[in-house]
């Protein structure tokens, strides 16, 4: 056992002296967290609203009222634009989406005819989807006010034996708008967790995603060293002088666990204190998740280093594995926005369970008992990976 710890000491020393290890362990994950946190808007963080370009080809009071209703929505930031500019602005993603109000809008609305507005969007844009919902909501309200006013005016006209005219409709509209200002039925949203963000995006996603995704890069230095040591005959030398394989493997695993645990700790602290994510609701659960993640990353790193004989092979496989686990596990984007069945497939992988658990402790108040099940899946992976790694390990 003593030799194992000597190996750990040597590995940690090499790691500390390697500036690139620092780059991958600390710097890149932090950069990733901050950038993605700002890029993917969360519900509450999106105070400025999604930019929506609006081209009004009608210019009527009705169109102006519609635009004012859009401006009143906190989710949207309306930018006036000429119709010819909208497609390019949307294509270049300078705005989340564009809305074209056609000429004749007011006339159609006044005559009770149907009128269609054009919503210009890029399919892959999540901002566009949110803008669509916001615009639909405004139109719904607008439609309802118009319908209510028109119907009220018509019924009163029949009862009072007078014609329906603009004055009557206008009066009805005013009365309807007063009623809508204080509606009878309201919809409120609550949740069991601490956060009621309209959208889990922002730092809630990027912070946890970084923790899960970047641990595999955290093992790159130690795993790469193992490959180089094998190439240069250093592992064989250790073997010849009597150091057992389990001592070498143990030393390397422990080092990888320590390095990645420290990496996670830093990211958790930054997430908690800088971005306001409540990681410490259940410290025991958090520690279990972090330990499981570190051991999992170490098992992956050990397996890849055992299988691949060259530095290039190790780096390539490590990067690809990290990318796949990140993409499939919900580290890049929430799994709920994926297709039917994908989430089921993704939950074969340990990264998905780790992300679920992190969301659980920060958003749903999960405790250690709640994370035992998901961590059980992770530990099955760990046992299998470790077994294969040990089976494949050769000192030369």
């Amino acid at each position: 056992m003593r030799r194992t710890w000597h190996i750990v000491g040597k590995e940690l020393l090499q790691n500390l002296r390697d500036p690139l290890a620092l780059l991958f362990t600390i710097v890149m994950p932090l950069v990733f967290t901050v950038f993605l946190g700002f890029l993917i808007p969360g519900g509450d963080e999106n105070e400025g609203g999604l930019p929506l370009a609006v081209a009004d080809s009608d210019g009527s009071p009705a169109a102006i009222r519609l635009i004012e209703a859009l401006e009143a929505t906190p989710l949207l930031e309306v930018k006036a634009m000429a119709p010819a500019e909208i497609d390019e602005a949307v294509q270049d993603q300078k705005v989340a989406a564009g809305l074209l109000i056609p000429e004749g809008y007011s006339a159609a609305v006044g005559a009770g005819r149907q009128v269609t507005l054009t919503f210009v969007r890029v399919q892959t844009s999540s901002g566009a989807q949110s803008a669509w919902q916001a615009v639909e909501s405004v139109l719904l309200g607008s439609n309802m006010v118009t319908l209510a006013a028109q119907t009220a005016a018509e019924q009163v006209a029949v009862a009072s034996e007078r014609a329906v005219d603009d004055d009557l409709i206008g009066a009805a509209r005013s009365l309807v708008e007063v009623q809508f200002a204080d509606p009878t039925v309201e919809v409120t949203t609550t949740s069991g967790g601490a956060s009621v963000a309209a959208r889990v995006g922002g730092f809630e996603q990027s912070s946890k995603g970084s923790i899960v995704y970047w641990v595999l890069f955290g093992v790159m230095s130690v795993g790469g060293t193992m490959v180089l040591e094998r190439q240069r005959g250093l592992l064989r030398r250790l073997n010849v002088i009597g150091v057992r394989a389990r001592e070498i493997i143990g030393g390397k695993m422990i080092t990888m666990i320590i390095v990645t645990f420290v990496q996670q700790l830093l990211l958790v602290l930054v997430g908690h204190f800088a971005f306001g994510i409540d990681y410490f609701g259940s410290p025991a659960a958090l520690i279990l998740i972090m330990v499981s993640l570190s051991v999992m990353a170490a098992a992956f790193g050990l397996l890849i280093a055992s299988v691949f004989r060259t530095e290039g092979g190790f780096v390539a496989t490590n990067v690809i594995t990290a990318l796949l686990l990140g993409a499939l596990g919900g580290a890049w984007f929430p799994l709920e926005i994926t297709s039917p069945g994908f989430s089921k497939v993704a939950h074969v992988l340990p990264s998905a369970w780790l992300m679920d658990s992190l969301h659980g402790i920060t958003l749903k108040g999960w405790g250690i008992l709640d994370v035992l099940g998901p961590m059980g899946v992770v530990w099955i992976w760990i046992v299998v990976l470790f077994a294969v790694a040990v089976w494949r390990y050769r000192p030369d």
Binding site: Q114, G141, A152, S191, G193, A327, E336
Partner: protein, 416 residues
Amino acid sequence: MMRALSIAWKDTVHVYRDFAGLAMMFIAPLVLAAVLGAAFGSGDNFSIAAAKTVVVDQDGGAGAGMPAAGAALVAALQSPDVGDLLTVTETDSPEAAREAVDSGDAAVAVIIPPGLSGALTGAAPAKAEIEIYKDPALTVGPSIAEAVAQSVAQSLNGSRAAATAAAQLAVSQGLTDQAQIADVAAKTAAVVALEARADAQITLEQRNPVVAGAEKEKRPNVASQVLVGMMLFFMLFGASVPARSVLDEHRNGTLSRLFTTPTRRGVILGGKFIAVFVVVLVQAIILILAGWLLFKADWGEPGPVTVLLVCSALVAASLGLVTVSFAKTPGQAGAVSSAIFVFLGLVSGNFTGTIVTSGPFATIRRVSPIGWLMEGWSKVLYGGSWASIALPVLVTLGFAVVLFAVSVFFFRKRYA
């Protein structure tokens, strides 16, 4: 020139004999594109899993002539229109509904309060609150349920508002018979309730942007949009593999040996540059073909696609060379270039698709040649032609020239 081509050929063969390099260049982007394509739907449109929704209807009675408001909401949630998005089950109590969400059995619970209908039909002003109890880790499913609830609430409020307004309007028009006023109000509410379910007057229709030069909108499929980002990202890695050969040869002594031959250093480095460009270009062509065959990607007009391919290869080659030129060992080069490429991929939108990048992020994207390439490819995918890619092509060529010059400077300085 022949010697430069000999060096280029030697380096290219070396790349294709390296399984790890091939895996990064071809297997990784195709696998990731397949995975991400599967994540977001294999067809032309995005699709997501239906969210499990639990509803509790505590609303008891209906007013005369009005359907139960609670039942209307339940019917709306169970409507075929949202059948792909919500899977709805009913339960007995709010506690059971919340428990279902807390335990993860449902994404969202819709809790309809008692007296909802009464609040709407009562003479005195009253309030009723429909509660959406959501899983805090989820957003899409709950937001759909919330949108449906809001829509029904709007309709109910509309009926109530219409009835109240009609009554007030009737009084203002001189009607005094209370029974008549009540009848006007009731009829108004009924008509509104009925017509609210009919076609809306103002509708919304969506389309993709029409790119400059295209005659009409074109809708690229999901996989091709994802594959563009993956292709550009992995071309960077594809370039770094042969680019690192300079450092490998320096370590192995073959670079010094090359310098002892009559072949000039400029020719040696030029040969290596050619190898990097050829490797990356072949990689891009194979990925384009694979995208077309496997994912039915319609890349766009051949001319602009070819130009973008060549630009992408030039930019990737120049980025691969310049990142390697800062490094002293192959290991360092691998790590440094990986970090730079992941960062570039991040700010250029390779991983996240197009997200609104107004403000400072639009500026950051403009600093990245990959960001410009993403823009050019996006335009071509959406049906753009020469005019729409002119600026991205010019800018990326400028980037490539500058980056090549920087790498030449550093290489010359080191191996003078």
